[in-house]
Assembly symmetry: C2
Homo-oligomer: 481 residues x 2
């Protein structure tokens, strides 16, 4: 029998049995004590360490409970095979969205961001408001709040919305802990004994796809330069029940498409005729770089016969860490929404709701937005100007707002390979395939222009051009063999 070392410190605050347990556990897990080996007998250990046998029994019992050893009566204690458990640190394999979505510090130029980066966050104001609110409300603000959201915030938002032709009472607003929670509520709202059916654009926001997948049947529709082909959609509606559609009407993600007024109106008419709801994700309307703020679909919704469930997030306007969105809910759905929200997390952060309120009341929010629009508008313009001059790619829809430019590469180029090539050169962007339900259309990319500086945009697009050239060369080489 091999010698097994057990060290104990009788002056330690840690209990003796636990010290012994830990000492043996470490040796077993490290492999110093091998599977199948016999441990010294309880009596031996007690004598050697000059402690009570019961203490040793306690530690052996714990080892057995943990599945590390096995007592075989009359024979002694043996180290067990501990099957699946492996102690080496290992990375949890990342899947698609993780793999693509995470911008690494080692990448120098970030064309992949879906939200503004931290240098744009209004931290100072946030901090001031935070401290003010604690002074004003004390601990109360950290208690559970109203399920529907802080009353004064909802009142304020209903007034703000009215300025944009959205007429909704505070009783029909639901504050959520972000857009994703809002979408989770939507799924639960429409789930019955069978899965609900959602129609959405192809390409679309990948997180929406991720959330709906598994809980809904998904119908996809191509997105044209002014919205869906609604005749095509009506054919689908005639054939099967669509419970709701999900769409970003202004500056769609990833294409930047704006639905035409005509199509908006027709979509609403269809929703009445075929009795489905429209989930409008209004993440980008505030980011218009020409003219006036575009109107939401919700603003065309008929009062009393609402068909639009409107979602507006503050993650992009302020920062992701605030975790706030608001939903405007048709009257007949509000009570179920309330119950679902109650089940999800009781309430959204009270202090963040109050902070948002302060941002709005003091006009800091609108000033902050003006600043963002000014900055992002310059970046978009530069990107578009540079892209126009580039070969082997084509801007699909010249956007006038939003965060993204949707680009078609020459047919010969594989978007995913191109993505990896750019990545290796320190440029992060997203391959278009990520935005399709069936991962088709591999020769597109999405370029987010909000994070890099103007200088970085120039350098980044130069690298992009070079990589395009390389990819083309490689292909022509291949075909010449």
């Amino acid at each position: 029998m091999l010698k097994i070392n057990i060290y104990i410190d009788k002056n330690s605050k840690e209990k003796l049995y636990f010290q012994i347990y830990n000492c043996l556990k470490k040796q077993i897990l490290s492999g110093d004590i091998k599977v199948g080996m016999k441990l010294p007998s309880i009596r031996q250990v007690a004598i050697k360490l000059n402690i009570n046998q019961n203490t040793v029994i306690q530690s052996y019992n714990l080892l057995e409970e943990k599945g590390l050893i096995k007592k075989i009566s009359g024979k002694g204690c043996f180290v067990q095979e501990f099957c699946e458990f492996k102690i080496e640190e290992k990375e949890i394999p990342l899947i698609e969205s993780f793999k693509y979505g995470q911008f690494l510090k080692s990448e120098k130029i970030n064309f992949s961001n879906g939200t503004p980066c931290s240098e744009y966050f209004p931290i100072k104001e946030y901090q001031i408001f935070f401290n003010d609110i604690i002074k004003e409300y004390g601990g109360e603000i950290f208690e559970y709040q109203s399920v529907q959201g802080v009353d004064s915030l909802r009142y304020l938002l209903s007034e703000e919305f009215e300025k944009e032709d959205i007429f909704v009472k505070k009783e029909n607003l639901q504050i959520t802990s972000g857009t994703q929670q809002a979408l989770d509520i939507i799924i639960k709202l429409f789930s019955k004994e069978t899965k609900p059916t959602v129609a959405l654009s192809d390409p679309t926001y990948p997180n929406a796809l991720n959330i709906f997948k598994g809980w809904c049947n998904i119908k996809t529709l191509d997105i044209k330069k002014d919205g869906w082909d609604l005749d095509e959609f009506e054919e689908i509606l005639k054939e099967e029940k669509i419970d709701f559609i999900y769409e970003c009407i202004n500056f769609q993600n990833p294409t930047g498409v704006m639905w035409s007024l005509e199509k908006r109106k027709k979509l609403l008419k269809l929703s009445e005729k075929y009795n489905f709801y429209i989930v409008e994700d209004d993440s980008f309307s505030d980011f218009y770089y020409y003219g006036e703020k575009p109107k939401s679909l919700k603003s065309l919704d008929k009062i009393g016969k609402e068909k639009v469930i409107y979602i507006k997030t503050y993650s992009k306007i302020l920062m992701p860490g605030i975790g706030l969105a608001v939903m405007a809910i048709p009257e007949n759905l509000i009570q179920r929404v309330l119950l679902i929200k109650y089940g999800l997390d009781t309430t959204t952060s009270g202090i963040n709701q109050k902070i948002l309120e302060k941002f709005i009341i003091t006009n800091k929010l609108s000033h902050h937005l003006e600043k963002l629009r000014y900055e992002f508008g310059k970046k978009q313009k530069l990107c578009l100007t540079l892209l126009e001059k580039m070969k082997n790619l084509q801007v699909m829809h010249k956007p006038t707002g939003g965060f993204f430019i949707w680009i078609k590469l020459s047919d010969e180029i594989d978007g995913e390979k191109f993505y990896l090539k750019c990545k290796s050169e320190g440029v992060a962007l997203l391959p278009g395939t990520l935005f399709y339900k069936d991962k088709r259309d591999v020769c597109k990319i999405r370029l987010s222009f909000i994070s890099p500086t103007l200088e970085e945009i120039k350098i980044g697009l130069e690298i992009l051009e070079k990589m395009l050239f390389f990819c083309m060369m490689e292909n022509s080489k291949k075909s010449s063999y």
Copy 2:
């Protein structure tokens, strides 16, 4: 035709068409302009206000879009019936949990709280840590964080857990935005084409019931003084597939029951034999008032063959507003959990995770808990002493920790009526029926002792005694008729 007043202010920043729209909308909604009335013609309004006809057309169009008026060609514009839309403020009807759970300020003595009240919140420390972390990390802390949770926090928690015999690598910990999100993840984890089946105690935590209801088939088991009757449970297991069980092993809510060691071990054995998982909601172990902290079921879980999904919340230890819980997840489930969490809200608040880390590292959390235990222990002892002397009720399980005392009233008394009587006297508590799946067992109540002061406990229990007496009197009167 009645005269319709349209006021505009040509110097206002608000667009003219919108002023007209608003002016008419208000009169329509207030009823000053009645349903069926004809609006003045576009030409008339333009001339009267000395403005362009197009402006009037714009406002009428908007009114029509909103469903407030209808154009009948050749005849003019008429005010529409606006069906379901009602402008009077109305309260959204509250249901069960809302009705019972919300403590109103008008109620003087609060025996209903499920979390400590705000005077116990460590606000000062929270605020200091908050400001420190912003200084240290700047805006970055408000960006999306790692889906699984901040790495350093998970590392720290895995070390903390080890002290309590829970051996889990940081790779198997998942931070969530509270217990409810953890339960939502559990549901999604076990959902397949058919609903999963969960077994839980009757009575149990009502929010768990609310969340599981609708998404799971629910089996209930009576909770005895030391846990379930596991022979009874095994009979169920033989008959049908149970996917997971949900239980609070230490100081169960509402009964305060502690599972015996024997039953814990047997439950784990059953989970291996019948291949189900055990969701351990460990909300109350930290609130022990005698001896040592009770061990979790998770601490008995076999390494490498884990069957326990462990959930620990920080809402009760710190405050609800922190919105943080942690799950320890068996190896084979962690990747799906990660994906589900990603779909739910991408990440939990980064700053709150860092604040929790600081609370732990500086030992403020353990000191805070010591204080809470001292305070709550005194309150529990007083409650139990006073209740022992009272007639017409019986403490079901004399608890040694947790927040609650589960009380059986004399059979003649209806718990819900008793609840309403106490409420009218300014004493808030919860009727037992709320904690049962089928709302049976109406002669029980749950008393939470953590919020009232010692003085309030005395007064509150005196009122309770009086109300019990009244209820008994009423019944005896009735039966004597």
